[in-house]
């Protein structure tokens, strides 16, 4: 659990691959070429095409799809998707970090138990978990029933809460779905953190805030970064939660892409949206890596 994938050290005992080595690896390489590289290439080619009669894709080279993305509607949707995903990520980190930290500081026995408790929702179908919130947030759902019977409504709040089918509901749903995705990697980083470092920092006179900012955060950064990546990117594209909780009113980029392939009959435009989304994803990935590296460098410089 070193944070972001793809960072394993190479095996020093490996031998140069012979012809056999390549032959044996060929099926996997072919699989990757066929089902990862080729589809992306086709997507890119499609994105320059245009829509023909009854949804047939006409290949060609036009930038009209990209021009359309530059239209304020779609820029706004991209912006909002990023905003919601960023808010979700932030909330997940803020809510999840203390819990992950706490769990990592327990005795091994308790750590195991608490971790299991986080794992169960993590492995439970996200649809089921989203569905649970519909029952709770409805106007005549559980939340308002509790508020009414406890007298909060009408004494504290003037009227029952109207949460379902609002952006708030979407964010609640997203946070709920993705929270374990932050807790688990942060836990793994925090668990490895050597406690004597904290003691040393305290003994050297660092206040709790300073210890947090200059020791805890840098040392658990791989976990935080992994968690952010695991929340931010899927949250942008997650159209199922927005569909169920947002009443089809709150569109995220995932909904628009989905719509191009299921309703609007415009594969090329959907492909262009997909390409832009992919670029966005690569950028945010690079940004996180860069942030991590900069942290390392400043740490070394000190």
């Amino acid at each position: 659990m070193q944070g972001l994938p793809g960072t394993l050290p190479p095996n020093p005992h490996a031998r140069p691959a012979g012809a056999w080595g390549w032959w044996l690896l060929a099926p996997m390489l072919a699989w990757l070429a066929l089902f990862v590289v080729a589809p992306m290439a086709i997507l890119l080619v499609y994105s320059f095409g245009s829509r023909g009669a009854l949804g047939v894709v006409e290949l060609g080279f036009s930038l009209e799809n990209y021009e359309r993305i530059a239209d304020p509607i779609y820029l706004r949707i991209f912006g909002r998707s990023i905003g919601y995903a960023a808010l979700t990520t932030l909330l997940c980190v803020v809510i999840g970090f203390p819990a992950a930290w706490f769990i990592a500081r327990r005795s091994p026995e308790w750590r195991g138990r608490l971790l299991l408790l986080v794992m169960v929702p993590f492995w439970t179908s996200f649809l089921i978990r989203t569905y649970a919130w519909i029952a709770i947030l409805r106007s005549e759902g559980l939340l308002n029933a509790v508020l009414k019977s406890s007298g909060v409504v009408p004494h504290v709040l003037p009227a029952p809460l109207d949460l379902l089918y609002t952006p708030t509901a979407v964010v609640i749903g997203l946070v709920y779905v993705y929270l374990p995705f932050v807790i688990l990697p942060v836990y793994a980083s925090a668990e490895k953190l050597d406690g004597t470092l904290l003691e040393a920092a305290q003994d050297l006179g660092a206040g709790p805030l300073r210890v947090f900012r200059e020791v805890i955060v840098p040392l658990t950064w791989p976990g935080i970064a992994a968690g952010m990546m695991l929340v931010f990117v899927p949250a942008i594209g997650m159209f199922a939660v927005t569909d169920l909780m947002g009443g089809a009113r709150v569109s995220m980029i995932g909904n628009v892409i989905h719509n191009q392939f299921t309703r609007a009959l415009n594969f090329p435009f959907g492909a262009a949206l997909g390409v832009v989304f992919t670029l966005l994803f690569v950028l945010s990935y690079a940004l996180l890596l860069w942030l991590g590296r900069r942290r390392d460098e400043t740490a070394k410089a000190r």
């Binding site: 009669a53 949804g55 509607i73 706004r76 909002r80 009443g247 089809a248 392939f261 309703r263 009959l265």
Partner: protein, 348 residues
């Protein structure tokens, strides 16, 4: 350890074999049905399977455009589809439907003549009417005391945030055309520009867009008014008489959902069997029991209870004339879709 590994391998290859065999075996005796969500009772499908041994895979969509997209652009192979009239018109014009062999339909005569030979299929060669319906306004009269007569009342300021509408661009654009007094099949650039501000105002007051089951939000009290499918309104009325159905005074249209066999269908024989099964009076009655749209099957209507026939959302009283949709091409469809995306995402 060695034997255990071998056993494991054996198990894995068996699993593979079973998967492949399963995939092969199920191709026979199947009907891949592509239809609206919340439209065909499970009991009807089960009954058909029990009688014929044909398994029905029921895949759903929630708008006519979605159906067209999945059928055409994704090359999905369905045996029987349930397009609305104007989508069927496009499919017929593009040669995408197989003619229906009426000699195999012993129950064809049950259909009422006014739902046959309509403009989308003048010769009645390719389609069979499944259900007919209107799109109208539902009002929860316990919560809304003011009279609601048409679109203008429904989308008025005082109902903001309490409205559910079908998530269907063409329907909503049509409602806007009605309020402007324009022809509902004329989406000229001028008309598109004219309806834009109307829809923008409406959308800011809509709480929920839902085509699959707009009744749910009304029943659970999340919203108090809706622009919904007639059958959904009829169900609400059955549930509680406080839900009134209003056909908008500005104008209302009728849709006919049809059964049709796509050109690439694999189980044409089974599709005919299913159509004929649906046309049986007692089966058609089952559909009306669960999804009370307007039943075009005269023999089936005779089996319905007086209360069912008195449901104003299923069988609107009076002799009102209804418009129907025509297919207008993908450019119009896309223009409408783009406007919907735009307006839904404006200023929030």
């Amino acid at each position: 350890m060695k034997t255990r590994n071998k056993l494991l391998l054996l198990g894995l290859s068996l699993l593979c074999a079973v998967t492949v065999a399963f995939g092969q075996a199920r191709k026979r005796g199947e009907l891949n049905l592509f239809a609206w969500s919340e439209y065909i009772p499970q009991a009807v499908l089960d009954g058909f399977t029990r009688e014929t041994g044909i398994r029905v895979n029921y895949e759903t969509y929630s708008s006519g455009e979605e159906m067209l997209a999945r059928l055409m652009a994704r090359r999905a192979r369905f045996d029987l589809i349930q397009p609305p009239d104007y989508i069927a018109e496009a499919l017929i014009k593009n040669g995408q439907l197989l003619p229906i062999d009426r000699s195999r339909l012993s129950n064809f005569g049950n259909l009422m003549p006014e739902f046959l030979n309509m403009p989308h299929d003048p010769e009645q060669q390719f389609t069979i009417p499944y259900m007919v319906g209107t799109v109208g306004i539902v009002v929860n009269t316990e919560r809304v005391t003011e009279p609601v007569r048409g679109y203008a009342d429904l989308f008025s300021e005082r109902h903001a945030g309490r409205i559910v509408v079908v998530d269907d661009g063409r329907e909503l654009a049509t409602a806007a055309l009605y309020t402007l007094g324009k022809s509902i099949n004329d989406f000229s650039p001028a008309n598109l520009a004219a309806i834009r501000p109307v829809l923008a105002e409406w959308f800011s007051r809509v709480k929920l867009f839902d085509s699959d089951s707009p009744k749910t939000a009304l029943l659970s009290g999340d919203v108090d008014l809706g622009l919904v499918w007639g059958g959904e309104a009829a169900l609400l009325w059955q549930e509680n008489k406080k839900f009134h159905y209003v056909l908008p005074e500005e104008g209302a249209h009728m849709f006919v959902d049809l059964l049709a066999i796509p050109r690439r269908a694999r189980n044409v024989e089974n599709a005919h069997l299913f159509i004929d099964y649906i046309l049986r009076p007692e089966v058609s009655k089952l559909i009306s029991d669960e999804f009370p749209y307007t039943n075009p099957n005269r023999a089936a209507r005779k089996l319905l209870s007086p209360e069912q026939l008195a449901n104003p959302a299923s069988y609107p009283p009076g002799d009102r004339k209804f418009d129907t949709f025509r297919y207008l091409g993908e450019d119009i469809a896309e223009a409408i879709d783009k406007m919907m995306t735009d307006l839904k995402n404006a200023r929030r």
